[in-house]
C-alpha cells in the first residue's frame, strides 16, 4: 500500500494543528496566492475562490488503484484524494456515494444516442437523496478539524437536508437558511432531522448574501457555513462524482458529461477530478467534453456562453428547477472556461421541457429525477438535436436528486382510471 503523505498544517485562525490528509494548503484559483489550511474561502489579495492544493507526490499509481478498489462502497474509497484524515471511514458521517451508473439504453433510443453509449449517474441514491451528501460529508470533516460545533448553510433545499442529516449523525448543532417558498418536500426533508431551519423572505441569492454577512458578524462567530467558510473543503466532494464515473466505466474517462449548473461548483470540481485522475495515471489521457445545463428561467451561465462573454451577468431566477435557481453563480466564469476549453457547451431548457424530461427518464429507465435531473436530460436531448453532442460517444448524464423532493413539478401525473372492484369495471375501463 502506498504511503500517504499527510500534511499537518496550522490553522492560523484557530491556532490548532489539523490533519486533512493530502490537503497541503489553500490556493487562490485566480492569482495563485497560497495560505495555510483554515476556515477561509476568499483570497485576501483578489477575492478569488480558495481551493485545496494537494500533495499527491508519494502515490504509486497501481498501489493507489488497488487501495481505492479495496475501499468501502462510498466516497471514502477515494480518501487518499480528498481533504480528509486517513481514518475518515471510522468517524460518524453519512458516508454517501458509490451510487449507480445506469446504462440507459431505452433513453438512448429515445434521444437518438447509440446503444450502449448513454449512462445516467443516479445520485438520488445518496442518504438524503441528492448529490449534496457528497459535499457535506467533506465539510463535516473540515468542521471537525477546525473545531466548529454549529453547522450552517444557505440552501435551495437539498443542501439543507444534507446538512441536517449529517449534523445529526456527527453530533453537531445545525441552523440552516432557505428561501421561505421552497417546495414542501424539501422543507420537510430538511426539518425532520431536528436542527433549526430558517426561512428567509427572499430568493436564494438573498439567503446567500445574508449568510455571507452573518459570517462576519459576532452572531455567526464559531459557525461552520459549509458553503461559505468551509467551501474550499465542501466543494471537493463533487470530485468524487468524476472518480466514481471513471472507475465504474472501468477506469476510463467518459467522452461527454452533462452536468447541471447552479453555482457551477459541481461542474468545475468534476473537471478537477478528471484532471487529477489523468495526472495520477489512473485513467488514460484523452479529450473529454463537459456540457453545462440550466433552466431557461435561471440561465445566467448559458446566456453568457451563447453571447461569447467571459463574465456572467446575474439574473433574477424564475423557474421550477429551484435547486438550480442561483441567479448569481459564484463559479459561473469557470464553467464558461471549462465548457470552452473542453469543446463542450452550456445550454438551457424551458420549464415545460424540464417536466417532459422528468417523465421521459422515468418511463424509459425507471428513474424518478427531481427538476435538476429534468434539466440535464432535457438539455441532453437538445444538444443531440443540435449536433453539439456526439451520439456515437460515451456520454454520462447526471441526475443529482430524487423526484420525491419536487412532486409539484409533475403534479398533473396521476391515476389512469378509477374503477369499482369488479372485473366488469376493469374491462369497461379498457385496461385489459
Amino acid at each position: 500500500m502506498a504511503a500517504q503523505t499527510v500534511a499537518s498544517t496550522t490553522d492560523s485562525a484557530a491556532g490548532t494543528s489539523v490533519d486533512l490528509g493530502p490537503a497541503a494548503a489553500l490556493s487562490c484559483r485566480e492569482c495563485g496566492h497560497r495560505v495555510p489550511l483554515g476556515s477561509v474561502f476568499a483570497c485576501e489579495e483578489c477575492f478569488g475562490p480558495l481551493e485545496i492544493a494537494y500533495d499527491f507526490s508519494a502515490y504509486d499509481t497501481e498501489e493507489l488503484r488497488k487501495r481505492i478498489e479495496a475501499g468501502p462502497a462510498n466516497i471514502w474509497r477515494y480518501a487518499p484524494l480528498l481533504p480528509v484524515p486517513a481514518d475518515v471511514a471510522t468517524k460518524p458521517n453519512i458516508n454517501p456515494g458509490w451510487t449507480k451508473l445506469v446504462q440507459a439504453d431505452n433513453l438512448a433510443r429515445e434521444l437518438g444516442v447509440d446503444a450502449g453509449k448513454l449512462f445516467v449517474k443516479d445520485d438520488s441514491g445518496n442518504p438524503t437523496h441528492s448529490f449534496k451528501d457528497r459535499v457535506v460529508a467533506q465539510a463535516i470533516e473540515a468542521a471537525r478539524a477546525f473545531g466548529f460545533t454549529t453547522l450552517s448553510c444557505s440552501s435551495t433545499g437539498n443542501l439543507a437536508g444534507a446538512v441536517g442529516a449529517a449534523a445529526a449523525r456527527a453530533g453537531f448543532r445545525s441552523c440552516v437558511f432557505i428561501p421561505h417558498d421552497l417546495e414542501q418536500g424539501k422543507v420537510v426533508m430538511a426539518a425532520v432531522y431536528g436542527g433549526d431551519l430558517v426561512g428567509i423572505e427572499g430568493n436564494y441569492d438573498d439567503v446567500n448574501r445574508f449568510c455571507s454577512e452573518l459570517i462576519g458578524d459576532p452572531a455567526g462567530e464559531g459557525w461552520g457555513f459549509v458553503n461559505v467558510n468551509l467551501r474550499p473543503y465542501y466543494a471537493e466532494g463533487s470530485k468524487t462524482l468524476a472518480y466514481e464515473i471513471c472507475e465504474q466505466l472501468g477506469w476510463r474517462l467518459p467522452d461527454q458529461i452533462v452536468v447541471p449548473i447552479a453555482s457551477g461548483s459541481q461542474l468545475t470540481k468534476i473537471d478537477k477530478g478528471l484532471q487529477e485522475l489523468i495526472k495520477l495515471g489512473l485513467v488514460e489521457d484523452k479529450p473529454y467534453r463537459i456540457f453545462g445545463a440550466q433552466a431557461e428561467g435561471c440561465s445566467p451561465v448559458s446566456t453568457a456562453y451563447k453571447a461569447g462573454h467571459d463574465v456572467v451577468r446575474p439574473q433574477k431566477p424564475n423557474t421550477i428547477a429551484k435547486s438550480l435557481a442561483i441567479g448569481n453563480p459564484a463559479d459561473g466564469p469557470y464553467v464558461l472556461d471549462i465548457a470552452r476549453r473542453t469543446g463542450g457547451a452550456v445550454e438551457d431548457v424551458t420549464d415545460e421541457q424540464v417536466v417532459d424530461a422528468i417523465k421521459l427518464l422515468a418511463r424509459t429507465e425507471g428513474i424518478f429525477a427531481e427538476t435538476a435531473g429534468g434539466v440535464t436530460v432535457g438539455v441532453t436531448r437538445k444538444l443531440v438535436e443540435s449536433g453539439a453532442l456526439d451520439p456515437s460517444l460515451t456520454t454520462v448524464v447526471l441526475n443529482t436528486g430524487d423526484g420525491l423532493k419536487t412532486l409539484d413539478a409533475v403534479a398533473g401525473t396521476g391515476m389512469t382510471a378509477t374503477i369499482r372492484p369488479s372485473l366488469d369495471s376493469f374491462r369497461e375501463a379498457g385496461l385489459a
Binding site: 483570497c43 477575492f47 478569488g48 444557505s154 448574501r209 455571507s212 458553503n227 461559505v228 448569481n328 459564484a330
Partner: protein, 91 residues
Amino acid sequence: MSVTVRIPTILRTYTGGQAEVNAEGATLGEVIEDLEKNHTGIAARVLDDQGKLRRFVNVYVNDDDVRFEQGLGTATPDGAGVSIIPAVAGG
C-alpha cells in the same frame, strides 16, 4: 452623502478590525475613493487594474446588487448602507 460601509472579514486589516465604517460620496465610486483616503490600500482589493469592481466582489447599496444598477455609478443616498461581500459563496 454619508453612508455606512460593511467591511468583510478579509478587508478588516485595512480598517483596524472595524466591521463597519463611515464614508462620503454620492456614488459607489466616490464612496470607494473616500474609503481609500482613510484606509489606504482597500480600493486595490475591491477594484481591478482597470478600476472596475473585481469579478469576485459583490457590492450592495441597501438591498440592491449594484450589478443590477449602475455599478460604480450607483447612487449612494445619505444614510445608505453599503455592503462589500466576497462572491465565492453558496451553491
